[in-house]
């Protein structure tokens, strides 16, 4: 850390050595976003994902052609749970970040099952902000 000069890409900084990156909360920004927009999903698959992540020849976790939003959220929430259990504080403790294996996700899905759209709504969708009354 003392061997580096670090700079935040945008925003205000007091000195070049005192920077505060914007915190990124995976659960809030990725998991709790409500319904997935089908046109965005379709555009991303066709623009780059089918080429960038082609399905493996065996033991595929999913296929881009028939992936459903609730499958996506199930796998991503399981990824997050496993990742947190393995990698929380890894960097500050000097440990390498460990990979999350597909086989672990398959194991978890076989035990706890896929989340239904209703489960996702219950667990991950942010409640609407209450407008305070006067």
């Amino acid at each position: 850390m003392e061997n580096m000069l670090i700079i935040k890409p945008s925003g205000v900084q007091d000195t070049k050595l005192e920077v505060a990156p914007v915190p990124f909360n995976f659960e809030r920004s990725v998991l709790s976003g409500g319904a997935m927009e089908p046109s965005v999903m379709k555009a991303l698959v066709n623009l780059c994902f089918s080429e960038m992540f082609p399905p493996p020849k065996s033991n595929a976790l999913f296929d881009w052609k028939d992936i459903m939003p609730h499958h996506l959220i199930t796998y991503v929430s399981m990824y997050n749970t496993l990742n947190q259990s393995m990698n929380t504080s890894a960097t500050s403790k000097g440990r390498p970040i460990l990979p999350v294996q597909d086989s672990r996700l398959v194991e978890r899905v076989s035990v706890s099952g896929m989340l239904s759209p209703k489960d996702i709504e219950r667990n991950f969708v942010r409640p609407a902000m209450n407008t305070p009354s006067v």
Binding site: I7, P9, P23, V40, Y75, Y79, N87, T91, I97, V100
Partner: protein
């Protein structure tokens, strides 16, 4: 590219959410280019080591999926104020996706000082950092590079990141997807 498919899903949801909530825009000229907003770009750090090598600091909250993409090259675009990370087919060099991190034009000098350094001699590394929840200015960096030696170049527009034919095809794909134009960049400035 990684054979681990869960990273593909995490990337997919990360980008879909970003596009839906307006933190990521699809470039109209070259829709394979995704432009991060200033606030989303603010989750990264950039800097130099004492050896002079530039690095991009990646928060541990987007690891390990973030580096499980073939980041083959990176481009500095001083005109638009972006660092583009380019995911390409390692064999054909065909652009799969470019991720534009918004960085002030003057700060892009951290990757290559304009007029003083030759961009062809520069290589970009990626390092992971962890941010303290109690003191946001307290960041710990990993000693090791997560990725290293990514080739750097300079571009003047997003079209230069791929071929015109490729961009044309991507525009057709985007049009057919029925995506609302609010998810794309406006023509002015791009």
């Amino acid at each position: 590219m990684s054979n681990v498919q869960n990273y593909a899903l995490v990337w997919f949801v990360f980008l879909s959410r970003g596009i839906q909530n307006g933190e990521i825009k699809i470039d109209k000229k070259n829709p394979k280019v995704l432009l991060l907003s200033s606030s989303l770009s603010g989750i990264f750090l950039c800097g130099r080591e004492t050896s002079g090598e530039p690095f991009l600091g990646v928060p541990d909250t987007i690891m390990p999926f973030f580096t499980e993409v073939d980041w083959v090259e990176a481009s500095i675009c001083r005109e638009l104020g972006y660092l583009f990370l380019e995911a390409r087919d390692p064999k054909t060099q065909l652009l799969h996706m470019a991720l534009g991190i918004k960085i002030r034009t003057s700060r892009l000098n951290v990757f290559c000082i304009k007029g003083k350094e030759n961009v062809d001699d520069m290589r970009l590394n990626m390092k992971v950092f962890e941010q303290s929840k109690e003191d946001l200015k307290n960041v710990s960096f990993s000693d090791e590079h997560e990725l290293m030696g990514i080739m750097l170049k300079e571009v003047e527009s997003t079209i230069e990141l791929g071929s015109e034919m490729d961009a044309e095809y991507a525009r057709t794909v985007l049009k057919k997807s029925g995506l609302d134009t609010s998810y794309t960049t406006v023509k002015i400035g791009f």
